[in-house]
């Protein structure tokens, strides 16, 4: 270290500080301060004319001053003159000269070593206009040395205790290092002194760092920050934030470089893992194919970790071996292609072992592990993590690295996270597949059901018509019998013929009922606005209503969006049903409704014979009639219920035996 700062003892406290500050700032030292300066002080213009001078300086350079001009050459010892010229140039270049020793010899005086400090004074345009110089003739070698050692010691202390790794490099060669630097790289200082900086760098970084050094050497930059990887003695990785400074002597000669390294390996790895994990997460979300997930992991994410290699194996249960399904690195030169795929039997190698145990492994030195299987090339360390879904190993994530001890617990943690992610994604993919399969089956079933329903309804339709034709034939034949054998029948006085006719009539009603019932789902469903008052009016006109029965509409019924035929069938069947069971001399059928906002509740009330509670469910079933007569087919109420259900409504009744029955049903308002 050849920079010597002015000795603190040279100037007295505050004044000293002011001088110093002004001096360092390249400002003229004010006159009032000058008086207190114990040193020789003078200000010279660029050609050497004295602008200002103090007494001490006048004494010192007495013989060399002529006409306010300092002929400094007269004072300089001949042999140090070339140095002096260099100093002069350095001063102009740097703007200051801090504590340079020169040798002067005044006329008739002994040689004297003095310490010179100088700064350049500039005009407003930053053009140099003068020098101010301080000379100290009090320098003696002893104090100089003491000073030097003191400072060196300070520096060594700082150097050794720094948490930064510090290295001095000359032309690539390692000159000196501190303890931190040694421990960062795992070498001792002696070992390092035999190495060059390239020995501990990765080949891909050498060119870049040489460029930086070159720039510095050319004086373009004095320092530079960058982040770089280094190889430790054990071949593991060190990622460091580096600040490199170039050190030159006062006259600008290159001395050496100082590099300060901060270990950010963990930091970088952790943040890159987090980033990678996020990237992975978003890239595999929604993927439903194990192969796609595997390729995403290897191609997109592993590269983000700075891993050299990664292979994902899938466990083949049938063959009890592991197959490579995706890769990153040398195994995957392009696209989604793996060259020289290998398979590993369960239990063999590190991969096979982990597949068997389901426990992750880090192998710090594969050379020491007999299980290690060389795939495409030998690599020094390996990490192997199982992909486990539902307690079963379904695959393996495996990564190898060319340096020993490369993989850390952070790698393990992250790869485990990735494996879990892959597993859960796969699981949900499998669930999705299962769901889709079920849906497919369901819709198939539904289609079948619809087809069957359609068939059934058509069947009912056709059968009803086919059944009717023999009925018609029988009816015709009986009529002919009656016509052709009138005499015989009159003699016999039997009423078999009318009984047969009644039976046929009833049979036709049944068939028509079945036909109507089967038609409910079949017909097109146009929701037209239907005025229910009109519907009831029409029913009154077309249905036989005995004279003693009155149908009353309690208040005007609403207009509904409903199929006209269904609305007619609904009310007609309820009214017919009421008519059938009225046993009073004056029958009353009352139709009413209540508006419940989203639906209406309609009621059809009669004063008939009433229905016992135990039959309330039964009456809605097909062919369930409580009375055996030609009028009652047991289909009417089944049709009513089916229509109400068709419109997602409910139907129920309240009844008192002997007094009458009220049927209620809800119909939703259709918007």
């Amino acid at each position: 270290m050849n920079r010597i700062l002015p000795k603190p003892s040279e100037l007295s406290s505050t004044k000293e500080k002011e001088v110093r500050n002004a001096f360092i700032k390249n400002e003229v030292i004010p006159n009032d301060i000058l008086e207190h300066i114990s040193e020789a002080y003078l200000v010279l213009d660029l050609t050497g004319n004295i602008i200002q001078i103090n007494e001490k300086a006048s004494n010192l350079f007495k013989h060399a001053i002529k006409d306010s001009k300092l002929f400094i050459k007269k004072c300089i010892c001949d042999n140090t003159f070339p140095d002096f010229i260099k100093l002069y140039r350095a001063l102009l270049r740097n703007g200051h000269l801090l504590g340079q020793k020169i040798c002067i010899q005044s006329y008739n005086q002994p040689k004297l070593e003095i310490l010179i400090r100088a700064t350049v004074l500039y005009d407003a345009n930053q053009k140099p206009i003068a020098f101010q110089c301080l000379f100290n003739d009090q320098v003696d070698r002893e104090s100089f040395l003491q000073n030097y050692h003191e400072q060196k010691e300070q520096l060594v202390t700082v150097l050794e205790n720094s948490s930064l790794g510090i290295v001095f490099i000359k032309n690539g060669k390692i000159l000196k290092t501190n303890t931190t630097f040694c421990s960062l790289l795992g070498y001792d200082e002696h070992e390092l002194s035999t190495l060059t900086i390239n020995d501990i760098s990765f080949p891909e970084d050498v060119e870049n760092s040489q460029k930086i050094i070159q720039k510095m050497n050319l004086g373009k930059i004095n320092h530079f920050h960058f982040t770089q990887k280094y190889k430790k003695k054990d071949q593991s990785l060190l990622i460091a934030r580096v600040r490199i400074n170039i050190i030159k002597d006062e006259i600008g000669n290159y001395l050496y470089h100082v590099a300060m390294l901060e270990d950010i390996t963990k930091e970088v790895q952790e943040s890159s893992m987090l980033k990678a994990l996020n990237t992975l997460m978003s890239s595999i979300i929604g993927k439903s194919n194990i192969y796609e997930i595997a390729w995403e992991i290897t191609q997109k994410v592993i590269s983000l970790f700075g891993l050299e290699d990664c292979v994902i194996y899938m466990f083949n249960h049938d063959r009890t071996l592991l197959e490579q399904i995706a890769a990153y690195g040398d195994k995957n030169p392009k696209g989604r292609e793996i060259i020289n795929k290998i398979t590993i039997p369960l239990g063999e190698g590190i991969v096979g072992t982990v597949a068997q145990t389901g426990i992750s492994e880090i192998v710090n030195d594969t050379a020491l592990d007999s299980r290690y299987i060389v795939d495409d090339k030998y690599r020094a360390s390996e990490i192997t993590v199982p992909i486990i879904a539902d307690g079963m190993v379904i695959g393996i994530i495996d990564s190898e690295h060319s340096t020993k001890n490369y993989f850390t617990n952070t790698h393990l943690e992250t790869l485990t996270n990735i494996a879990n992610l892959a597993a859960s994604q796969l699981k949900s993919a499998m669930n999705l597949q299962r769901f889709l399969d079920t849906e497919k089956q369901k819709s198939l079933l539904l289609n079948n059901l619809q087809a069957r329903n359609q068939e059934l309804q058509e069947y009912a339709h056709i059968v009803s018509h086919d059944l009717k034709s023999p009925l018609r034939s029988i009816n015709a034949l009986i009529s002919w019998l009656k016509e052709d054998y009138t005499d015989v029948f009159e003699q016999q006085k039997t009423n078999h013929i009318p009984l047969i006719e009644n039976t046929l009539d009833r049979m036709e009603k049944l068939i028509n009922g079945v036909l109507d019932y089967s038609k409910i789902d079949l017909e097109n469903n146009e929701y037209k606005s239907i005025d229910l008052n009109q519907v009831i009016h029409n029913i009154k006109k077309t249905t036989y209503i005995p004279k003693h029965i009155n149908i009353l509409i309690k208040k005007p019924l609403p207009i509904l969006k409903i199929d006209h035929t269904k609305a007619t069938q609904l009310f007609q069947n309820l009214i017919s049903n009421a008519i059938k069971f009225i046993d009073k001399n004056i029958g009353i059928i009352q139709i009413d409704y209540e508006d419940h906002g989203t639906y209406h509740t309609f009621s059809v009330k009669d004063n008939g014979i009433g229905i016992d509670k135990k039959y309330h469910q039964k009456i809605f079933k097909m062919f369930q009639s409580l009375q055996t007569n030609a009028e009652s087919t047991g289909i009417g109420l089944a049709i009513v219920k089916k229509i109400v259900q068709y419109y997602n409504g409910d139907i129920w009744l309240e009844s008192t035996v002997g007094k009458g029955t009220t049927f209620f049903f809800n119909l939703k308002k259709v918007s």
């Binding site: 339709h461 018509h465 086919d466 009717k468 034709s469 009925l471 018609r472 034939s473 009816n475 015709a476 034949l477 009986i478 009529s479 002919w480 006719e501 046929l504 009539d505 036709e508």
Partner: protein, 137 residues
């Protein structure tokens, strides 16, 4: 009153008997030619030795060629398309009705269950056509 000739296309024997009985009782001079299905009816129509009927009565539900298929063939024929055709059906299905009228029919009669009702309908149908002017030959 003119004598009418009917071509009755009906697969059910008793239905044919019913028609015969009602018409002959009402007006024995009317001629009834019977066919049990559409193909047979076409043979009769295409037989040059037989005069064309005045009116065709067609059942819809028949084996082999059904009524609507027959009707479609008939209405696409240059000469036969002028023959008034009345459908006799068991079904009052809206779809069937629409299809028939679209293709071209002169009437649609739903066969009632009771023979008396049937006889009444057929009689009124026959009497209606008796008072119509027809393209003869």
């Amino acid at each position: 009153m003119s004598t009418l000739s009917f071509l009755l296309i009906e697969d059910d024997e008793i239905e044919r008997m019913k028609f015969q009985r009602v018409v002959s009782k009402y007006e024995p001079n009317h001629i009834i030619v019977e066919a049990t299905n559409g193909e047979e009816a076409l043979e009769i129509l295409n037989d040059d030795n037989q005069p064309l009927p005045d009116i065709i009565l067609l059942d819809l539900n028949m084996p082999k060629m059904n009524g609507i298929e027959f009707l479609t063939l008939l209405k696409n024929h240059d000469r036969f398309k002028y023959l008034p055709t009345i459908v006799l059906s068991t079904s009052n299905n809206h779809q069937d009705l629409l299809e028939c009228y679209k293709t071209g029919i002169a009437g649609y009669i739903v066969k009632p269950l009771k023979y008396e009702d049937y006889a009444l309908k057929i009689q009124s149908m026959v009497s209606y056509w008796e008072s119509n002017e027809l393209i003869k030959g």
